[in-house]
Amino acid sequence: MPPEADPNQLLLQAKEGDPGAREELIHRFTPFILAVTSRATGRFIHLGEDDEASIGLMAFNEAIDSFRPGRGSSFLTLAETIIRRRLVDYFRREGRHRRVLSLQVLEQETAAAVDPLGGEEINLVHEMADRRREIERYREELAGFGITLADLVKGSPQHQDARDRALAAARVVAANPLLSQYLRERKALPLKALEKSVAISRKTLERHRKYIIAAAVMLIGDYEYLASYIGQNKRGGQDA
């Protein structure tokens, strides 16, 4: 399987019974599976240690077969739905779902906790709605900085290294109350202070200004999902 193969293509091939494509697809989306599993269970899931991880992998495999292109739903959304459903089945069987369900999930359920067991799909709907609201809030806040998402597409550091450095700078700003306050009030990066605390030249900082601001805003603000989304790719197959 060429490393640059389009996952959408892999999916179609896997559906047509190509075991190599299926293998590759599952391999590549292991971080996704682990992220979804962790979110659903509310704890960090290790591949090879936790049963939930295998449940997630199997559910993902199932999703490949269930997916019907053109039926309106994104494959990953379907996969997430199936992973969650299988996890609930699993919890139910194990009789320990209460223990492992995340607080967040419990909170959501308390509103209409008629059937906490069958509510996983509804949870996902809620969560999607939450995500959408979160994204909307985020875009509005960025607009306050005069930044549009299109700006970020243009101003995104091209290389992963450069992105990681920029993200590190954003973390510095987010972690330091003084710097975050500066950012919030002046709507600008505290370049001078930042220059000292990170090993990035001022020129580079300025070039990636919008990207760093956007990342810092994401980290400072109450953007739980977005903030956790970045960095999910770090969770590779071995998952130390």
């Binding site: 990953l76 597409v153 977005l226």
Partner: protein
Amino acid sequence: MLNAERGLVLERKGNRVIVLTPAGEWRSLYLPDQSPAIGEEIMLPPVKRKPFWPAVAGAAAIILLLILALPLARRAVRPLPPGEPVYYVTVDINPSVELAVDNQERVASARGLNSDGEKLLASLALKEEKIATAIKLLTREAVRQGYYLPDREGAMVVAVIPASGAEEKQLAAGNDLGQKLTREARDILQQARVPAVVEAAVVQPEIRQHAEASGLSAGKYSLLLEALDAGLPVTAADLQKEGLTRVLGRLDGNWEQLLQKLQQDSDLLQKEKQLGATLKKALGQQPAADNNRLGDNSNKGQGPTGNAGNKEKSPGNQDRPGPGQGPADPGQGRRPAAARNNPAARGGGKASPIRVLLEKGYTYQEIIKRYYNQERPSGHLRLGPLNIAGE
């Protein structure tokens, strides 16, 4: 390769979405056939950012260069061994021309069979054109030069002659080609509001040789056979000097039928045999046996001398109604022997991919688009609002 294979949709405008990848990258994507909701995760095609633009630019540049160089290359390639003519197509209006067509239905060479034909060709560059296009251009030019006039009757005979062999298959293919060409010509004439009769005929290679020997185009020669068969007193000399409609019109009002008969007739050689003496008389010369063997000999026989008897009828190519050139050269004009057996060379050999596409009728723009699309990531799967049932 675990990076950036999925992304969270944060913004959607029409088919363009902006996604954030887990690697912290912002990307803008064009999704022609899906509409993921904001907050959904989608699978992303691999980034080819670095190779992508240079590759496209490079490909585009190469394609452009190829396109620009194509006419040059053609010119350069022309002296090389040609694509052998597969068909000869003669077109008789009053000007008579013969086009050699290669196996890709392109004009390998064109020559005028009479002075008007040469004049007509002089204002056209038909070489390398698709034969169908060539016919269109020819017809248009004939209209432009006044060989056809709006609301006046006219005729065109398109004769298709397989270059070698006359098996069923070749004749059938030739017939198809002929039909295609008549359609093209009819279209043009219709646009010009000329109520002309256009008919095609497929004739055997031998007929072409005989026609050449008697100084006629294959089309006119075939028509001569038909006319003689119908008992009309036509001579080769008449047909050499004048256009079809004029000769036929003078003889019999019903010449359209004659043309149609010609089209249906598949074995003119047979007819030739049957006519025997009548034909020889019509050709006004020595035994036909001489003619079909030696093209050079035939030049003697077909000169104006052989036709003295008919001379008084019309001094030139007067079929042409428009104002025009002075008295045209009677006879069918020069036919350098060299040109005949040497259908000018042309770009044979292997066809480039672009060439192949062009043969298939793609336009350059379509070809560029095609190349460009190959470089582009393929579309995503269709995404949509969250499906609660999951199926």
